[in-house]
C-alpha cells in the first residue's frame, strides 16, 4: 500500500526517459501501475518531442534537391579535368621558359650545336655553288667551274680604269668598242 504512494523522484523520472529498463525493478513496477507517474513521464516526453518537432519546423529546407550520383561526379570531374589541363599547360610553359641554370646550359649546348649545323650547311651550299656538277662531269667539260681566266673576266666585267668617259656624259663607253 505504502509503495503506491511513493512516486518516482526527479532522478528516477529522468532515468525513465533515458531508458526505463535501467530503473530498479521496484521503481519500474511502480511506474507501470501509477497513473500519476505515467502522466509525469508522458508530459516530459511530450516536451522533448516538441523540441524535436520545433527544431524541424523552424529549420529551413535545402534550396536544392540532392544531385544524382552521376551528376555529382560529373560536377567533380569537370573542374578536375580543367585543373589537370591547366596544370599540364603550366608545366609545359615552365619547361619552355625555364630560367634555371641547368636548362641555360642545355640551351647553350643546343645553340652551339645549331651553329655548327649552320656552318656545315653554309659550307655545303658553297660547295654546291662552286661545284654544281660532280667531278666526273667537270672532267668531261674539260674545265673547272671555279676558275675563269682574267681575260674572260675583263671581257665580262671591265675594270673602272680601263673605261673612257666622254665629256658631259656619265655613261661609260667600253674601250673595246672604241678600238673596233
Amino acid at each position: 500500500m505504502k509503495s503506491k504512494t511513493i512516486h518516482l523522484d526527479e532522478d528516477q523520472l529522468i532515468w525513465s526517459v533515458v531508458d526505463e529498463n535501467d530503473l530498479a525493478p521496484a521503481v519500474r513496477n511502480h511506474l507501470s501501475s501509477c497513473p500519476v507517474c505515467q502522466e509525469r513521464k508522458r508530459h516530459f516526453e511530450q516536451e522533448l518531442n516538441n523540441l524535436g518537432n520545433m527544431t524541424k519546423a523552424f529549420s529551413p529546407l535545402p534550396r536544392e534537391k540532392p544531385v544524382p550520383v552521376v551528376q555529382i561526379f560529373r560536377n567533380w570531374l569537370r573542374p578536375a579535368f580543367v585543373s589537370g589541363f591547366a596544370l599540364v599547360l603550366l608545366i609545359m610553359g615552365i619547361w619552355w621558359s625555364s630560367p634555371f641554370p641547368v636548362s641555360q646550359e642545355n640551351r647553350m649546348t643546343q645553340a652551339v650545336g645549331e651553329m655548327e649545323d649552320d656552318s656545315q650547311l653554309v659550307v655545303e651550299i658553297r660547295v654546291v655553288e662552286e661545284y654544281a656538277l660532280p667531278d666526273l662531269y667537270m672532267d668531261i667539260a674539260g674545265e673547272s667551274y671555279g676558275y675563269f681566266g682574267d681575260e674572260f673576266l675583263e671581257f665580262v666585267v671591265p675594270l673602272e680604269e680601263n673605261q673612257i668617259r666622254s665629256t658631259g656624259s656619265a655613261r661609260p663607253v667600253r674601250l673595246i668598242h672604241l678600238i673596233s
Binding site: D11, F44, T55, F58, S59, P60, P62, P66, P68, V70
Partner: protein, 196 residues
C-alpha cells in the same frame, strides 16, 4: 514500420556499396534532409549546411564500399557528418586566428517557412535563442548526445555507434543533459506549447 525502413535501407546500402548508382541516389534522397538539418543545428547557417551536406554525401559515396555492417549505415553516415562539421569548425578557427574568416554569426536567422508571419518569426527567433543558450551551456558530450537524441532522433544504440562510445556512457551523458534541461526554465516553458 521502422523495421521495414531499416530493412529497405540495408538493402539499398548493400546494392550501393557494390556500385549500384540508383540505390546510392535513393540513399541520398532518403537521408538528405536529415543530414542537412543536423548540419544546420550545428552551424546555424543554411549556406554552410548546404555545402557541408553536399560534401558529406560525396564522402559517403567514396567510403561506402568500405562499410562492413549495412545495419549501421545511419550511425556511420552521422559519424561522417559529425567529423565533417568538426573539420569545418577547425578550419574556421584557423581562419579566425589569422583574421581571414568572413564569418557572420547567422544564429538561425535565415529560415524560409512562414517567413512573413511576424508572430511565427518572433517565436522562431526566441526558440533558437533558447536552444542555442541551453546547448552551448552543456559540456561537449552532453550537448552532442542531447542533440543527437532529441533533434536528430537517433536511438541510444545509434548514438553510441556514431560517437564510438558504449551505451551506458551515452545514457549517463543524456541523463546529465536532461537534468540540466529540467532546470532551464526558458526552453522548458517554450516547449510546453509545442509547434504553433
Amino acid at each position: 514500420m521502422a523495421d521495414s525502413k531499416y530493412q529497405q535501407v540495408s538493402e539499398l546500402v548493400d546494392k550501393a556499396r557494390h556500385g549500384n548508382r540508383n540505390s546510392t541516389d535513393q540513399l541520398v534522397m532518403l537521408f538528405h534532409e536529415d543530414i542537412f538539418r543536423m548540419v544546420y543545428y550545428r552551424t546555424r547557417s543554411r549556406m554552410d549546411a548546404e555545402d557541408l551536406t553536399q560534401e558529406i554525401f560525396m564522402q559517403m559515396i567514396k567510403s561506402l564500399p568500405g562499410l562492413k555492417k549495412t545495419s549501421r549505415f545511419k550511425s556511420w553516415l552521422f559519424r561522417i557528418a559529425l567529423n565533417r562539421i568538426k573539420d569545418f569548425y577547425r578550419k574556421k578557427s584557423i581562419l579566425n586566428f589569422f583574421g581571414t574568416s568572413t564569418e557572420v554569426d547567422e544564429s538561425y536567422q535565415e529560415i524560409s517557412q512562414n517567413d512573413d508571419d511576424p508572430i511565427d518569426k518572433l517565436m522562431r527567433k526566441e526558440f533558437w535563442e533558447q536552444f542555442r543558450q541551453f546547448t552551448e551551456g552543456l559540456p561537449r558530450w552532453e550537448r552532442e548526445v542531447f542533440i543527437l537524441r532529441f533533434a536528430d532522433h537517433l536511438g541510444i544504440r545509434e548514438i553510441a555507434e556514431t560517437l564510438k562510445k558504449n551505451e551506458s556512457t551515452v545514457k549517463t551523458h543524456l541523463y546529465r543533459a536532461l537534468k540540466k534541461f529540467r532546470q532551464t526554465p526558458g526552453l522548458h516553458d517554450l516547449l510546453k506549447g509545442g509547434v504553433p
